[in-house]
């Protein structure tokens, strides 16, 4: 019935010679919306990078169907130099790379319209001429979401998209993510807020270097599982209902 877009087949990933993620087994189905949770260092970012093909697997495989599946990826901390002389509009327009490539022509008016539209969707007036150095962290995150909009990908991976972002911006961007889900896109997001996950994400993958549980969010986020994810300290009570 449902179709697996990305299958993790007993995936193990090593970083710095150490297995930081092992035995991950399961799949992201088309149209699913999955949260990835776990303590710091649990391997959440590593998992997203493996799905993107940015890290090799030490054992097992990542199977993407179709092979050239279109995936957009928002890294945890984009290694972007904010003093770089580019404008907001140029950053957003980068989202069109896959359609246009390094040399293809963009019709000025057409891409201006698309950029302005994407900026409007993330709650900006047309600020495409402004330089990115003039943006706050939250504003810049909105701009990166506008770039994701232009990418128009079937599957979207978000690594802690709301870290350092205020409540209003989080609400707007989360609404956008839910809208993508309704359009039938497949969403995978690394998050720390358990309430947010339970409310908006039907599925959760809980990690602690290995896979603790993967499935229905409410079942996955049981006290027992959370205790395992946090280590043996039994401090799940403290974190319950708040942050992991």
């Amino acid at each position: 019935m449902s179709e697996a877009l990305v299958t993790l087949d007993n995936l193990t990933v090593k970083r710095g010679g150490r297995a930081v993620l092992s035995g991950i087994h399961g799949c992201f189905e088309r149209g699913s919306m999955t949260a990835i949770m776990g303590a710091n260092g649990a391997g959440k970012s590593t998992l997203l990078k493996s799905v993107m093909g940015l890290l090799p697997s030490a054992q097992g495989r990542v199977i993407r169907t179709p092979h050239d599946l279109d995936i957009a990826y928002l890294p945890q901390q984009a290694a972007i130099d904010h003093s770089f002389p580019v404008s907001v509009g140029e950053v957003v327009a980068m989202g069109a790379w896959q359609r246009v490539g390094g040399f293809g022509a963009l019709k000025q008016r057409e891409w201006r319209r698309q950029v302005a539209e994407a900026l409007a969707r993330v709650g900006f007036d047309d600020i495409s001429k402004r330089s990115i150095g003039a943006l706050s962290t939250g504003q810049f995150q909105r701009v990166l979401f506008a770039r994701l909009l232009l990418q128009n990908a079937e599957m979207v991976l978000l690594d802690e998209p709301f870290a350092g972002v205020d409540a209003a911006t989080t609400r707007d961007l989360l609404a956008l993510v839910c809208e993508w889900h309704q359009q039938g896109r497949t969403i995978v997001a690394v998050l720390h807020d358990i309430n947010q996950v339970v409310r908006h994400f039907p599925a959760t993958l809980l990690l602690a270097g290995r896979q603790i549980a993967w499935g229905n969010s409410e079942e996955v986020l049981s006290t027992e599982h959370l205790q395992q994810a946090l280590g043996m300290s039994g401090s799940a009570e403290q974190s319950e209902g708040s942050r992991l």
């Binding site: 993107m52 940015l54 995936i71 957009a72 990826y73 890294p75 984009a78 290694a79 972007i80 130099d81 003093s83 770089f84 002389p85 580019v86 404008s87 980068m94 790379w97 896959q98 490539g101 390094g102 040399f103 330089s131 150095g133 990418q151």
Partner: protein
């Protein structure tokens, strides 16, 4: 007053062919070295230009030993040596613990010492001075063609690889995730850097050439924050420095290469104080 201006500014160029050629060489160099310098700066590779300019030395020295003061021999020798060092530095930084700047430093230091030793094998200290500091006042028509050729090729290639190059520089991770390849653009760009250093060392010498690449770029960075205008401004600063440097060198009887680079340096120091991005500006805070 007018007379004096005429004598100092105009006469050197109307009366002496070598001054005219030097000026045109300086302009041609500025037109391409400026934008290349701007991109080096944005890639945080400002010192890489310096390293590469030293790396060119042993190749140029071998060319000089084999064929004397031959434009082509020294140019091709320098090109090969520069590319070799760039490639080895890139390769070792991918395969070892060293970052690119560190492995660059290792190779260019070897290159520099090797180059000086090669020159000392047969040449005199005058030869060494020539290789190190160039002879912009002895530029003949062939050298001019070479410099103008390199300058044109640079602008053309930059125009073609502009988008991937800037993207690769700004957000390489994004480029990888959209399956764009930035690696070749980076290599093409390093080739342009070496080519411009070759063009520069024919006129200014290996040690001075990088000054014409980086100083105008720094000035431009201080004044503007849009990529296009940065490149344009770097070209204008380079041209102005060439003109001022040559005039000063002619009238004061000092070496032309350092005079040109020092003129660019004066622009830099002044900008450092009064520009929007400088010490008195507030934009960077």
């Amino acid at each position: 007053m007018i007379d004096w201006l005429d004598q100092t500014l105009w006469m050197p160029f109307t009366d002496f062919g070598f001054m005219r050629r030097a000026l045109i060489a300086g302009f041609a160099l500025s037109i391409s070295a400026g934008p290349v310098g701007v991109l080096l700066l944005l890639r945080r590779m400002s010192l890489m230009g310096d390293a590469l300019s030293h790396a060119v030395l042993p190749g140029a020295a071998i060319g000089y030993l084999v064929a004397g003061l031959s434009l082509w021999a020294m140019g091709i020798g320098g090109l090969v040596a520069g590319l070799l060092v760039a490639m080895m530095a890139g390769f070792t930084s991918r395969r070892s613990r060293l970052r690119e700047d560190a492995s660059f430093a290792g190779f260019y230091l070897i290159s520099l010492a090797g180059g000086v030793m090669i020159v000392s094998l047969r040449g005199s200290s005058i030869d060494l001075l020539h290789v190190l500091f160039g002879t912009i006042l002895a530029i003949d028509a062939n050298t001019l063609y070479l410099i103008a050729g390199i300058s044109s090729v640079t602008l053309l290639v930059l125009a073609v690889i502009y988008r991937p190059l800037v993207m690769e520089c700004f957000d390489p991770e994004f480029l990888r995730t959209v399956k764009g390849r930035g690696g070749w653009a980076h290599h093409a760009f390093l080739l342009l850097v070496v080519l411009n250093l070759i063009a520069g060392f024919q006129s200014l010498g290996t040690l001075m050439a990088v000054g014409m690449m980086m100083l105008p770029a720094l000035v431009a960075r201080l004044w503007t924050s849009a990529l296009g205008s940065m490149m344009l401004l770097s070209v204008l600063v380079g041209c102005a420095a060439s003109l001022i440097g040559l005039v000063v060198s002619f009238n004061a009887g000092v070496a032309s290469g350092p005079a040109i680079v020092l003129s660019a340096g004066a622009f830099y120091l002044i900008s450092l104080v009064i520009s929007p991005g400088g010490l008195l500006g507030r934009q960077h805070r």
